[in-house]
Amino acid sequence: MRRLVLILPALFLAGSLSALSVGLGGLGSAQFGASEGFDPKFQFGGGGSLMVAFPVLGWLDVRADLDFFGLMSSDAAGGYLYRGYGCSALALGAYASVPFDTLKGIGKLEYGGGLAVAGDFAGTTYTTLYWFYPEVRAEGFLDFRPDFLANTHCILYVPLRWQLRADMSYCFSTGLGLRVAYSFGED
């Protein structure tokens, strides 16, 4: 029984590994948040990400992302601003997709979405101060698979992220990103 517990996940992992996807992307984002005693403001930024995805079912992937991004400080209206920071984040989530359309001679389109959780490690601009916050993520995406590039995905995505920051009353972000991924073992 104990062997079975070890062998089954190993077989599943081996199967998944043969069909895993790797990718990299870029994201422009806008964050909206407020701290106690201060009005909400926007902060803008962007960054890049590396991802690896394992298929669990034909329509469902488990995906890990490693993100690096920076946010500029907000505007200074009212004599205060929200601090800019740089951040690294590790996210793990599940993403589903369904076929959407076939563009004859050009490629295939899929759309989908998913949910993830992330741990973010941030460093405040101009300082040697570092801090942590968890994050809940949702993402909708449009996946284009061109006929002329085998196993390649061009993914346009819109993330919605809820930063569970201890020092803010609330903090959300969204944006627009583009990711290019390569799937191994896909026909």
Partner: protein, 345 residues
Amino acid sequence: MGKLFRFAIVSACVLAAVSCTLYDASTSDVKRYALVYGMTNYVVYDSSTDYNDPNLTYPSADAKSMAELLAGWGYTVKSRWVDAGSNVYVDGTAVGTLSDASAQAPSEDVLKSDMQAIGSQMDSNDLFYFYFSGHGTYDDSGSEYFIPYGGIVGEKISSGVYAGLNYYYANADTCVSDTELGNYLTTYIPTSKRVVTLDTCYSGGFIGDTLEVDIVADDTNTSSKKTSYSVSASTIASAIANYAGYTSYSSDGISPGKALVVSACGAGEYSTETDGYGHGVMTYFLLNTLSKADLNGDGSVTVLEWYSLAKAGVDEDWNSLSWVKYYGYCMEPRVSGGPVDYVLF
């Protein structure tokens, strides 16, 4: 696809409209007030009988220059300092000496009444800036103090806190601790935009961050001082632990919600003054870097911008001197954490 595109365009327009509405607020409504103290002479020193001079040289120059700088930028400034001749100055005018005008010297009681007077003119949208240059000390329980007039007694006392001043000792009751300063600020100053700058020894102990981890250790003033710092696994672990146990109240220092503190040095470091600068080291760089401190080019200088440029000056100039390293006088200015920053200039 067409619907998706239209949705994206409409969303972008809504976002832009909301953004413009929020940016309508202006900084011109923010009135700025400053309280500036400097303590050069703590006692009337008699060199014929006393070989343990606790007095400093440049805090009066620090306070005078800082008061002039702030006034030039439109601050309403209240200032008090005591110079090397034991003369007491109020708002730039000599009002007597410590022998006959000590009631107007910057003591803890005067600090409270000055804060109360300034606070009565302020509203919740205004900014308050407090500056002190002079001695700092600490006690065995981990509290740090700055030493205003009346904080140093001329002989050992059983209830005092050690000030590192030869045979002079600081009296905790007449010094201002981190906790006391935090309480005075929240009691008397009716705005959350409070900024404190302390050019004193051990002043980093006034910073009461409960979320952030500073990768610069409290004490770097050794001959083996590191010149660069890096994030380690323990930094990440500490940051996660701070998040898990987060409280907005700091039991050790002034939390960012009460005031942003810029300190000349860490909780275990000396803050130094020098003839070469004619000022305290950090104050010299604060005074001389302001013109270049709009680092992001948005037309204003914030606490973090001013701090970071002054820190760079201390690091690149003062801390690079071989004798400073040798004798352990390196210092690292620090700043509070928190999510917000304030426009100072």
